[in-house]
Amino acid sequence: MTYGAWIILTGVLVGATCGITGALLVLRKMAMIADAISHTVLLGIVLAFLVTQSLNGLPMLIGAGAVGIVTAILVQRLDSSGVQSGAAIGVVFTSLFALGVVMLSFIGDGVHLDVEHALMGEIAYVPWDTLTYARIDLGPKAVWMLGGVFILNLTIILLFFKEFKLSTFDPQLAASLGIPILFLHYLLMGMVSFSTVASFDSVGAILVVAMLIVPGATAYLLTDHFGWMIALSAIIGALASIIGYVFAVWLDVSIAGSMAVSCGLLFTMAFFLSPKHGMVSKWWKRKSFRKSMATS
């Protein structure tokens, strides 16, 4: 495969992985917890590095998952002790992120891990960092990791599809039916952490937020069907990656940034043009309603 194709495949996988997870977050009104986790994952990665002294995929995934869950637990705790949820999210993520940045400054310059990389990602280098087994080139590491996390997240969603659906729309009913709501909550938080750390290397911790929230929000404007919304969110994420890559190459700018901007463009289009929930159709309906009132 060519250089560009690998980058597009990476972007599409980021979009799809974050998209299916993000749809659930938007429906459950937890978008900003995703923002928090995508920041604090940095601390998990730094800790994993300090323990193993390497930038291996698996320890990083474990470190990020652990810190992601800790973030969710801390926010939950503060929230239930009376701190308003927005402020709870803010204080937890800034503290853990600041800790991550300070610890990062202790790690020497020789390591391929710095703050700018953590924030913006280096998708342009993805095709060169390949996985080799028995001297056979198996393709970029990032693609393998993202593919793995995508399949993991998809499997979790398909396995618990009914449970997720019910606990999202009617938590009380779900609880009375004995669905483990807390378990699902932390499962989702784990999925967010995995998606973040897998995407981290390519699009950076902060632009991951765009991929987690914006496709989900866009899909929410386009459909009322739970299953469709998850699928649509993944498609929008993937589409935004492709559009973003084309623009980035054309204008010679940051690929990850351009992908986030494309997410924003698709969202704006849905905001105005969505058949059911868009501004234009709402305006049209109001107009024709007024007209029918006037004639009757």
């Binding site: 938007v26 009104k29 937890m30 978008a31 900003m32 995703a34 923002d35 920041h39 009376g82 701190v83 308003q84 927005g86 402020a87 999210i89 803010g90 204080v91 800034t94 503290s95 992120f97 600041a98 800790l99 940045v101 300070v102 400054s105 703050v115 700018e116 924030l119 913006m120 902060i206 632009l207 937020v209 765009a210 987690l212 929230i213 914006v214 989900g216 929000a217 929410y220 404007l221 980035a248 204008l251 010679d252 700018v253 940051s254 990850a256 940034g257 351009s258 992908m259 986030a260 901007v261 997410c263 924003g264 969202f267 905001f271 929930h277 501004m279």
Partner: protein
């Protein structure tokens, strides 16, 4: 200790220390109102949205000028705040997702513009990326003076209008009955918060700026129930964080000032959460026995 004393003999370091103390006090004070109005995360979006504003200001004027950058940041911060509200008002998207969309997309625009400037104007980033994490170490005297004067102005205005802000935040209906211009006061408060964010991002950067607005008032809440005291204590906590964080960062090579200020504030928050006289965990535990 020796290093701490030496710090005060270095005039540039003394200025930075002075600036960060004033900045901490101002943001703690104004943050109390942000917390009361439940707008903590909107503050986060404002800070992230400042990045494209700074880049656009540079693209238009082609010079590195702090006042122009701050102007750009303020304008894009205001636009972001408006967009968050507009998305909530005109679609089925809820506030949290709306904040997330605006925050992440505007940061994406910022990164795109940043790389555009780097690659298209002779590889000179003009120190724009310093705004992501703050540039305390690279600040010149005029930058610090601007932070100090801006912070003082914000402290002064907030103190002067404290009573009006308090009534219009707690009980808008009552405030209207008293003949207070509630909408005008909200607008002034919003402008003050944006100015605070814009001034602060030079020191702590766009990613962590919101911590200076949230953490001190949240910590202060564990010590008092009165808004006047809360504003003052919160300001003090902010000032102490600015002082200790800046002092620690001068002790080692390459220690980032902004994150250290934030970590100090977080530590004070944890101490308050545990030992605070109002609703602190220790007091609660004792009362239960």
């Amino acid at each position: 200790m020796q290093e701490l004393l030496e710090l005060f003999q270095n005039p540039n370091a003394r200025w930075v220390l002075f600036g960060s103390i004033l900045l901490g006090f101002a943001s703690g004070l104004i943050g109390s109102f942000v917390l009361l109005k439940k707008q903590s995360l909107i503050g986060d979006a404002m800070a992230h949205a400042a990045l494209p504003g700074i880049c656009i200001a540079y693209l238009i004027y082609g010079v590195k000028s702090t006042p122009l950058f701050l102007l750009g940041a303020a304008v894009s911060g205001l636009i972001a705040t408006y967009l968050i509200q507009a998305i909530v008002n005109h679609s089925r998207i809820k506030t949290d997702a709306s904040i997330g969309v605006v925050l992440s997309v505007s940061f994406g625009i910022g990164i795109v513009l940043l790389t555009y400037i780097t690659r298209h104007s002779g590889g000179n980033q003009a120190g724009l990326d310093d705004f992501i994490f703050g540039q305390a170490a690279a600040m010149v005297r005029s930058d610090v003076q601007m932070i100090a004067v801006g912070s003082l102005l914000i402290i002064l205005l907030t103190s002067l209008l404290f009573k009006e802000f308090k009534i219009s935040t707690f009980d808008p209906q009552y405030a209207k009955g008293l003949g207070l211009p509630v909408k005008g006061l909200n607008a002034i408060l919003m402008v003050l918060v944006i100015s605070m964010v814009v001034i602060g991002i030079q020191m702590v950067g766009v990613v962590l700026m919101v911590a200076l607005l949230i953490t001190p008032p949240l910590a202060a809440r564990y010590w008092t129930d009165r808004l006047e005291w809360m504003g003052f204590i919160s300001g003090l906590i902010g000032a102490v964080s600015g002082w200790i964080g800046t002092a620690i960062s001068t002790m080692g090579e390459g220690l980032p000032t902004g994150p250290l200020i934030v970590l100090t504030a977080s530590s004070i928050f944890i101490l308050s959460l545990l030992f605070g006289l109002r609703k602190g965990l220790l007091i609660k535990g004792v009362q239960r026995i």
